[in-house]
């Protein structure tokens, strides 16, 4: 059917109007209409395509790392992740011993009931770094559950749950805010995602001395995320624009773009 230029504008206007009405009707609602059946029907397909992606990534890594080096590299990488998690716990224990306080329970993996999940998709646009996992309500997943890798390295938290899948808001998501604590001095702040690529520890009191390489963990405040999950390591601190606090970029111990299998923290054992 041929349409004149004027009719094109009219049709476009009708479509825009329809979309705006749809947006207004669904505004404030967490779940989109028909989202559950759409997600449920397409999640297996996403899983299939993600397996292809993992396969290719594996092959490309092999080419890059030349045979046996690839496997050794992967083993060393996993060992580094585990060691970083353990180091966070050791530093925390040292700090508590120094201050002669009762030992606070940290978050080693064996203390928690964990559900393994595979990453089947990622939404990387517009700094909204979100991962899509193949576990949902039927597996006991609830919103705000922590998602970790290795020995207790936090990568994000569950933001939305469907019957057979869930969305994870990664730490570097611009909407992500985590209550954090610097292990060395107990200073608390908010770890915020920035531009979908990095993490900043903000709202740290000016009186606190921050050194490069200080370990930052979840503080457990609010009761949503367990205490002691490793978030990252500090860099040099700078004052905030209002000069009331200071902030520092965090070096992440895990690579957000290489997530394949993660663990969802269901609760304490």
């Amino acid at each position: 059917m041929k349409l004149s230029k004027k009719n094109n504008i009219v049709v476009l206007f009708v479509v825009i109007l329809f979309v705006v009405i749809l947006m207004l009707l669904t505004r404030g609602s967490k779940n989109k209409p028909l989202e559950e059946p759409v997600r449920r029907s397409l999640t297996p397909t996403a899983g299939f395509f993600s397996n292809i992606g993992f396969w290719f990534d594996d092959k490309f890594s092999f080419v890059k790392e030349m045979g046996g080096l690839k496997k050794q590299n992967q083993q060393l990488f996993e060992e580094i992740i585990n060691l970083k998690g353990r180091l966070a716990r050791i530093e925390e224990i040292e700090k508590e011993n120094e201050e002669l306080r009762a030992q606070i329970e940290l978050a080693p993996r064996d203390k928690f009931s964990l559900i393994s999940a595979m990453v089947i998709g990622k939404d990387l646009k517009n700094q909204e770094e979100t991962a899509h996992l193949n576990r949902g309500k039927k597996d006991g997943i609830k919103e705000q559950m922590a998602v970790i890798v290795g020995e207790g390295i936090l990568v994000g938290k569950v933001s939305r749950v469907f019957k057979t899948s869930c969305d994870v808001e990664l730490l570097i998501n611009r909407a992500s805010k985590i209550n954090a604590e610097i292990v060395k001095n107990g200073a608390r702040g908010i770890a915020r995602g920035q531009f979908g690529t990095s993490l900043v520890l903000d709202m740290i009191p000016q009186t606190v001395k921050i050194e490069r390489g200080d370990t930052v963990i979840t503080s457990g405040i609010g009761g949503l995320l367990p205490r002691g999950l490793l978030i990252g390591y500090t860099q040099s601190a700078t004052p905030t624009s209002d000069q009331l606090f200071q902030k520092t970029s965090l070096i992440l111990p895990s690579q957000m773009d290489k997530l394949m299998v993660v663990w969802i923290v269901e609760g304490e054992k």
Binding site: K2, L12, I16, L22, A46, F49, I52, F54, N126
Partner: protein, 177 residues
């Protein structure tokens, strides 16, 4: 033909969402694979059909992202209008690589500007909570050039499918003002 395009859109979307996002180094350009495909498709189909595909693809992207339902539909619909306008001006039955690449290159940039525009508009009426920003660096334009090449590859694929289905050039209505 329509069923093939439907399946192709699904395949390209899942390649973007689930396959290339998992491969190190590919996630940089994979966020706009579906847009690339749509830009190539819009050059070959009629206005109303393009709006249908824009609606379908936009909803698909919206369901698998954190964006408000309808946001990507809005962006794709405006792009359909712009592409149709260009098609009328160019009035070419089959486009050369350079023209397709240029259209895809500027189409992806236009999409980002539309995203910025609509997100700020929606922020004003409190439909969105967080502002969106885009980093217009040299990397940004390099990715767009790569997407332009991919867009041409999609364009050739669509031409091939049209040949397979026996849809000749007479079937494609390109109106000249």
């Amino acid at each position: 033909m329509k069923k093939t395009i439907f399946v192709l859109i699904l395949i390209v979307f899942f390649l973007q969402y689930s396959t290339f996002s998992m491969i190190e180094g590919f996630s940089v350009f994979s966020t706009e694979l579906i847009l690339c495909f749509l830009l190539a498709l819009f050059l070959r189909r009629t206005y109303l059909e393009n709006l249908t595909w824009a609606f379908f693809a936009g909803l698909l992207v919206d369901y698998f992202s954190d964006s408000v339902l309808g946001f990507n539909v809005l962006v794709f619909a405006v792009i359909v209008f712009v592409i149709d306008f260009l098609k009328r001006k160019l009035a070419l039955k089959e486009m050369h690589f350079s023209i397709v690449a240029i259209i895809v290159f500027f189409g992806t940039i236009l999409s980002d500007f539309l995203i910025l525009f609509f997100s700020n508009l929606l922020l004003l009426v409190k439909i969105l909570d967080n502002p969106i920003s885009i980093d217009f660096s040299w990397n940004y334009f390099l990715v767009k050039i790569l997407l332009a090449v991919i867009g041409f590859f999609f364009y050739r694929t669509i031409l091939f499918i049209e040949k397979v289905f026996g849809i000749g050039l007479r079937e494609i209505r390109i109106d000249k003002i």
